[in-house]
Amino acid sequence: MLKYVIKRILTFIPMIIAISLIAFIISINAPGDPVERLTKSAGSEGTADEQSGASKKEKQEIRKKLGLDLPIFYINISNLSVSDTLYKIQDRSHKDNIKKLGHKCGNWNVVSEYYKSILTFERKSKKLIAEEILIQMYPEIDSNQNRKKLLNDINETINQIGFEVGSLCETSEANLIDLKLNKIQSFIDSKSYLTHLKTDFEKTKKLRGDLISEATKWKTYIPTILWYGTKNQYHLWLFGNGKDRKGVIRGDFGISYIDSQPISSKIWDKIGISFGLSIISILLAYLVSIPIGIYSAYKKDSKTDRITSLVLFILYSMPSFFVGTVLLLQFANPDNLSWFPVSGIQDPTIFDPEWGFFKKLSHRIPYLILPIITYTYGSFAFLSRIMRIGMIDIVSQDYIRTARAKGLGEKKVILKHALRNSLLPIITVFAAIFPMAIGGSIIIEMIFSIPGMGLEIFTSILNKDYPMIVTVFTLSGFLTMLGYLIADILYAVVDPRISYK
């Protein structure tokens, strides 16, 4: 027995690792740059110039905090052409593009030189200031109108160059690169104030040529394994770094893209409602379905049994979102019956957070009736069917026949001998409560606008708040496994017939 429990727990651990890996893979493949998302959500005000200047440093800090300057995993299987320093490139779209270039060219040195030369060129071209150029190049201009026109002209050119160079970092198509280079070339040739950029540009162009002439495509065919050690994103995500990041195993799931709040505190705020709701409805479902299951098993193949079976079957096929919406349509609609409030769990004009527990509860009851019905009916149909099948199985067992043979009353046989054993399969279902608190109620909470975990998941999906989504994924996987573990152990404890040798 103890041996079984230990063995069971030991299989639990690799599963958890596997779940964490899947979650991590999903999180790093989520589209978009997390740093961009976080800086955008912070929403600092000010002119565009100030923002880009201030946020560059800010971005670097966030990047460091998120660990994005680290390699992704302990090891990386790639090919000879990829350098082990690729992860140091910060901008995500640049990194993807450099990878692509590396894949095409195969010569990492040339690719990185090329990339660096573009960056240098970009930095220099950003230093151009229209006013200074104007004073230097055309000191004799006095008329205001001419001045404005020239200034506009120069600004336009600078912007154009900036745009072309910027997009150069994100293109790997050969003809697109050439197109952009030609455009910049034509600017440099025609505008005299751009001559000092010429040397840098020539260098870029030469390296562009090298990309083709010094390509070592064969290198991309040879796989290599790179070892990074524990300083990687996965390790940081899972275990933290002992300073500002605590890691998933200590309950630190990162920060939300929407409001930069810690995910764990957000979940903590919301989970109570969902958990309460699922506990109430599961208990209700058990209360109704166990008697129904027993009764229809006891009266097996009678007319009542067949009718209840059919009704349960139909209920079982009814999608919860349909039932919820119909309930809303029928009972929370001024056009039909306005018995219940439409949405939420409390009336913000009356509700007072200082109230005691029971006052709060009685205030919330009308809000909760429809959701609980929606929540309950599906699991109720499911549980009744399981209960009935289990009971039928038990009633045909030898020990029940023995109990009858020794003259026990039918009631006693069913309620004392059969019931206890038929409850066993239902234990397994109880394990489903844990994950349900986290995710099972997405649809119901969305229909009734209940501010619990389900609605939180729903909004975070709409807003593409990936840290939240991944956290929910990890937690619900973990909790389901925990549920199965507990159910298995309970099973072993309760049912002496099962031996786990």
């Binding site: 599963m15 894949h103 349909f322 119909v326 056009d335 994950p435 099972g440 496994m481």
Partner: protein, 441 residues
């Protein structure tokens, strides 16, 4: 009745058992009806006429390609106009003879005069070919009402049928393929029947790694470019990658034969059952809806991707049943006979054992289709994963939720989903009872 053993076939017996269940039989006919609706959806609900005569030209617009363009000349050969089939408002043309589709609206065509949730029995407006706004003639009435932007609900339901059935079929097709193969291998070989020489075993593992490297890692840009071009070409690239993957594994296994050192040639067991069982356990321990939602939040919205995700996450049940069947079958005489005759394992599995293991698999596929349809409509109800411009039952229902006054948008799509799921569940349950009387409850 005088039935000898020779005439007795299990299929016949199962079908007779199935036929006894009247509700299931009706469900089967209803399913057939749904399939017909889905197949003929473009001719049942279309805003282009099935047949019409315009200025002496006979046309069959509903059967033509959507993007077709026709130059119209009158009887004297004089040019009148260019008709582009998909943007022409056929109702506004002076058609001398016309047969409309039973529902004269396409699922995405917006009726400007019946915007803002026109009720089925309520007032609906219509612009006649003469240009005046009238009460709608019965022929053009939106029999089941419209949504907020004037799309016809009945048409949406008809076309939604196609998507629902397709979701069930495609996703469970994928799930069945994965589930049957993995379940059969796990059940047939178990942990201690698949023997390999040690060198071959290690080379296979290396082959898997290299296969992933060359097949998928090396071709990742081709695959992503393929998906940018469209779903079909993306899947094609994946198929190429997969074939490459297999070729590399086979190649390495062939190479391993060169090594003749005796210590390498000791035979070891491949614990294939453990691999598959752990995989099933892992996938089962992630709540399916959460898994699907998480993945579809990361990828681009597309109905095909939703189908693939549902399929890839839904094979565990099928694999479990197949595995259990194979565990039973592998010790039966005829399988042992096949093996002692020297047939290869692959042949024994797929030719001899599999046909006899399919009964419970069929049942779980039927249940799986029901839950696939449920999941897809749940996803499109939430607006996750399924693009907005595809009309499905789920997102029609969601439109109703947003505007409770439009009860028809709640009732009809909801009933459609409910009936389809019930039909599949009924068929599944009846066939379970028919195929395996032991399981009957």
């Amino acid at each position: 009745m005088d039935k000898t053993n020779e005439n007795f076939s299990f299929k016949k017996y199962a079908w007779n058992q199935f036929k006894k269940n009247k509700i299931a039989l009706i469900s089967l006919y209803l399913l057939l009806f749904l399939v017909i609706i889905a197949l003929f959806a473009p001719y049942i609900a279309n805003d282009r006429p099935l047949y019409c005569e315009y200025e002496g030209n006979t046309m069959y617009p509903a059967f033509a390609d959507e993007t077709r363009k026709d130059s119209i000349f009158d009887e004297n050969g004089e040019f009148i106009q260019i008709l582009q089939y998909d943007i022409t408002d056929w109702r506004q043309l002076n058609l001398s003879k016309v047969i409309w589709a039973p529902i004269p609206y396409s699922p995405n065509s917006m009726d400007r005069y019946n915007r803002d949730y026109a009720a089925p029995g309520g007032k609906q407006r219509y612009k006649s070919p003469g240009g005046e706004i009238l009460d709608i003639p019965n022929r053009f009435r939106h029999k089941l009402g419209t949504d907020g932007i004037g799309r016809d609900l009945a048409s949406g339901l008809i076309h939604g049928t196609k998507i629902s059935l397709m979701v069930g079929l495609v996703s469970m097709g994928i799930a069945a393929l994965i589930g049957i193969i993995l379940g059969a291998l796990a059940g047939f070989f178990g942990d201690n029947k698949l023997k390999m020489t040690r060198i071959k075993y290690y080379f296979t593992i290396i082959g898997v790694v290299l296969g992933i490297f060359y097949g998928f890692g090396f071709r990742k840009y081709e695959i992503s470019n393929g998906f940018n071009d469209g779903f079909a070409s993306g899947m094609w690239e994946i198929l190429i990658s997969f074939v490459l993957f297999l070729i590399i594994i086979i190649l390495l296994r062939l190479i391993s034969r060169i090594f003749g050192i005796s210590s390498f040639n000791k035979e070891i067991f491949v614990p294939i059952d453990t691999f598959v069982s752990r995989g099933i356990e892992l996938l089962n321990s992630i709540p399916r809806l959460i898994l699907i939602i998480t993945i579809s939040a990361v990828v681009e919205p597309s109905i095909w991707i939703v189908m693939v995700i549902i399929g890839v996450t839904g094979w565990t049940r099928i694999a479990r049943f197949t595995r259990a069947e194979f565990l039973r079958i592998r010790s039966l005489e005829y399988v042992q006979a096949a093996q002692s005759l020297g047939f290869s394992s692959i042949r024994t599995i797929f030719k001899h054992a599999l046909p006899n293991a399919l009964a419970p698999v069929f049942v779980s596929i039927a249940f799986g289709i029901a839950s696939a349809i449920l999941i897809e409509s749940g996803l499109s109800f939430l607006g996750i994963g399924v693009p907005d411009d595809i009309v499905t039952w789920g997102n029609l229902l969601n439109l109703g939720r947003q505007n409770l006054e439009a009860w028809w948008l709640i009732l009809y799509p909801g009933l459609a989903i409910f009936f389809t799921i019930t039909i599949y569940n009924m068929i599944a349950e009846a066939s379970r009872d028919a195929l395996d009387p032991k399981l009957k409850s």
